[in-house]
């Protein structure tokens, strides 16, 4: 009786090895493809416009992000903490500039910027156009000396933003010789295309 029992026990336990193998493969895949977004960069929420045929992916590193929100504020940010410390004097600071003097900047109320209603990052406001232009140049120079590579510039505009702010930004970029940049868009889904 006891011999039968003993023989049955190993047969009842399920061999988990292949299961664990597969899960390990999936795990490895996700670890390797994972990209950790800097939480800080998402502090200002924008609704991205859709576009259909842009195949270029957003660069991952060494990026200067210029965010335009629906109030027409421009936020300049780089992903390198040393560059931020260098140029802004604050490792998590966020430069802001409101080009249109006829309207009020939106960053005065943190609820305008994100859902949570509070900013993790201190905003360093620029009133003067020339100073903001100098900032963009400083970002680039500092990045070149800190990282050794040229900054790639992406413009993240809110769907609802006025083109005026975008035009002002493009004007500034032209004057600071930042003539190569890209607009960040969301891939258009087929559903939206039908409309």
């Amino acid at each position: 009786m006891s011999a039968v029992k003993r023989r049955r026990r190993p047969a009842q336990s399920i061999d988990m090895t292949p299961y664990v193998d597969v899960i390990m493969l999936i795990l490895t895949f996700f670890i390797l493809t994972a990209q950790f977004k800097a939480e800080l960069a998402e502090d200002i929420q924008v609704k991205l416009p859709n576009s259909g045929n842009d195949t270029t992916k957003l660069p991952e590193r060494n990026v200067m992000t210029l965010v335009i929100n629906r109030f027409g504020d421009i936020f300049a940010d780089v992903d390198n903490i040393n560059v931020r410390e260098d140029v802004l004097g604050d490792p998590i600071g966020l430069a802001a500039y409101h080009p249109d003097s006829t309207t009020q900047p939106g960053w005065t109320n943190p609820a305008n910027l994100n859902d949570k209603g509070q900013m993790k990052r201190p905003i360093i406001a620029f009133k003067d156009r020339e100073k903001f232009k100098k900032l963009l140049i400083d970002f680039r120079l500092s990045s070149k000396s800190n990282v050794g590579k040229d900054l790639r510039i992406v413009v993240k505009g809110d769907k609802e933003a006025d083109i005026g702010a975008v035009q002002d930004l493009m004007e500034i970029m032209k004057e600071t010789k930042n003539t190569r940049f890209s607009f960040v868009t969301d891939l258009e889904t087929d559903e939206k295309e039908k409309k």
């Binding site: 190993p10 795990l27 259909g52």
Partner: protein, 175 residues
């Protein structure tokens, strides 16, 4: 272990004991994988949750490098004006060689692409001048650029400021 058993003597006894021992060994070597699998599943869930598979796309733009003062002279006959009004209407008009331009046509995005493809294949030197109203929405600008990128033509366009005459042109198509 074996030597210890040998010292105990008794060949019959030893044989039975060895058999029993090896059986027990098999059971003892069975590693319980459950906690290991639990941890791996947790890790897997974490990475699945945090991974961002849909990386946003980018639209490449190259502005002309030249200084503000440098102007490029172009034949007005090659120019196509694309004007976007505050309401998001698109006014499309072709320039004439004598410096004037044809009556603007009010189009939607799909028609704009078709017109541009038609003119672009007829005239390889076509240059598009984009004029956006300051109060128009950024979404519109991306849609127009996207449509131009999609059209099977040479992508030569420039951004230009909207001025008084442009407003009048837009009024002709209903603002």
């Amino acid at each position: 272990m074996a030597s210890v058993e040998q010292a105990e003597g008794g060949s019959e006894k030893r044989g039975r004991k060895q058999n029993k021992w090896s059986q027990r060994k098999r059971v003892g070597f069975h590693i319980d994988m459950t906690p290991y699998v639990d941890v791996i599943m947790l890790l897997l869930t974490f990475f699945i949750m945090t991974s961002t598979l849909n990386q946003p796309q980018v639209m490449q733009i190259n502005l002309p490098k030249g200084d503000q003062e440098t102007t490029v002279k172009v034949d007005m006959g090659n120019v196509v004006f694309i004007r976007i009004s505050e309401k998001g209407n698109i006014g499309l008009s072709k320039g004439k060689s004598d410096g004037t331009e044809e009556q603007p046509i009010k189009v939607n995005l799909e028609q704009m692409k078709q017109y541009l493809e038609g003119w672009g294949t007829a005239n390889k030197d076509m240059i598009m001048i984009l004029k956006f109203h300051r109060k128009a929405k950024y979404d519109m600008m991306i849609s127009v650029l996207d449509e131009i990128n999609r059209a099977a033509i040479e992508k030569r366009y420039s951004f230009s400021k909207m001025e008084e005459p442009d407003f009048k042109v837009l009024e002709a198509i209903g603002g």
